[in-house]
């Protein structure tokens, strides 16, 4: 697989699907978007179900980590993009360990500072993007927003 986009449900997945639709327009790119958590009941294939989690509940994060390793080994994406939140961060960590290119896009909801997941992701991701110009720095880049 070329590009895997992973996000939590809700606002994260709306932003991820905007990015997904641009990649999808190019039929030469093999791209997929997976949503962690409650929307997994819409995903038919059992291989690609991943639970939602947050950093306040370590056990759910552990399950998410196990699922991420399994899913990564099945799909082997060359590039992984996440718009958040914790499941995306965990999946990116796994992907980075296996040598994929990892991109974190912080949610447009984070106006005052980067999300917790984003601050963790900046330690291992290849690229970190914010959607707010005033939050950009040398490491955290701004290349536009979803709206």
């Amino acid at each position: 697989m070329d590009v895997l986009i992973i996000s939590s449900p809700g606002g994260h997945s709306v932003q991820a699907s905007i990015i997904y639709s641009v990649f999808k327009d190019d039929c030469n790119v093999d791209v997929e978007h997976f949503i962690a958590g409650n929307e997994f009941r819409e995903i038919k294939d059992d291989n690609f179900k991943i639970n939602d989690c947050n950093f306040n509940t370590p056990l759910s994060c552990f399950f998410c980590l196990i699922r991420s390793i399994y899913m990564f080994s099945k799909l082997k994406p060359k590039i992984v993009i996440s718009t958040g939140a914790a499941p995306g961060c965990i999946f990116l960590l796994v992907s980075r360990c296996f040598g994929s290119k990892c991109i974190w896009v912080d949610s447009i909801a984070n106006i005052k500072n980067l999300s917790l997941s984003g601050r963790i992701a900046q330690f291992f991701c290849n690229d970190i993007f914010t959607q707010w110009e005033h939050l950009s720095s040398k490491r955290i880049k701004y290349i536009g927003s979803v709206i």
Partner: protein, 171 residues
């Protein structure tokens, strides 16, 4: 039809109270059927059972959500980014009430922080925290013509991500 959406995570009693108060206060709102998506308190469930023009769903699939979203004349919602982005892309009139920590409606005040940015930036998006303003804006937005001034949105971020990824894949 008016679509009230509360998001997937938490309940938002104040928004339902806003709607119910406006329903009692003015005719132009009570003329419209309503669909509510999201979790409600027991008090609201009891009230809504007595109002036949309101349909309530705790959970919707994304297809059901998209269908109701596109059919509605007005969206009333929390200032959830997913809902606002969807409304901006489809030129749908939307009135948003930011969730606050003060009333225990969210874990942080990012919706309040976003309020000043989104208010006035798009003609179809209004952000209000005050009930009187809520009433005025509803009256205005129900007159909003969805087919007029329709812009095609293209995300600069998505386009940039795409071109840099293609470069990388070709290497």
């Amino acid at each position: 039809m008016i679509f009230i959406t509360l998001g997937t995570q938490l309940s938002f009693d104040r928004l339902i109270d806003f709607y119910l108060d406006s329903f009692n206060a003015s005719d132009f709102i009570s003329d419209h059927d309503v669909v509510i998506q999201g979790e409600l308190s027991d008090r609201h469930v009891k009230i809504i059972e007595m109002l036949p023009h309101i349909k309530h769903f705790n959970y919707m699939t994304s297809d059901e959500y998209a269908e109701i979203f596109s059919c509605s004349d007005l969206i009333i919602s929390h200032l959830g980014m997913g809902t606002v982005i969807t409304a901006v892309y489809s030129n749908k009139p939307i009135i948003c009430v930011p969730r606050t920590v003060k009333y225990g409606e969210h874990r942080n005040d990012h919706q309040l922080d976003a309020a000043s940015y989104f208010n006035g930036k798009f003609s179809n998006v209004r952000v209000v925290s005050d009930f009187d303003v809520f009433l005025i804006e509803i009256a205005e937005l129900l007159k909003f013509d969805q087919t007029k001034n329709r812009q095609v949105f293209k995300s600069e971020l998505a386009a940039n991500l795409y071109s840099s990824s293609i470069e990388l894949l070709r290497k």
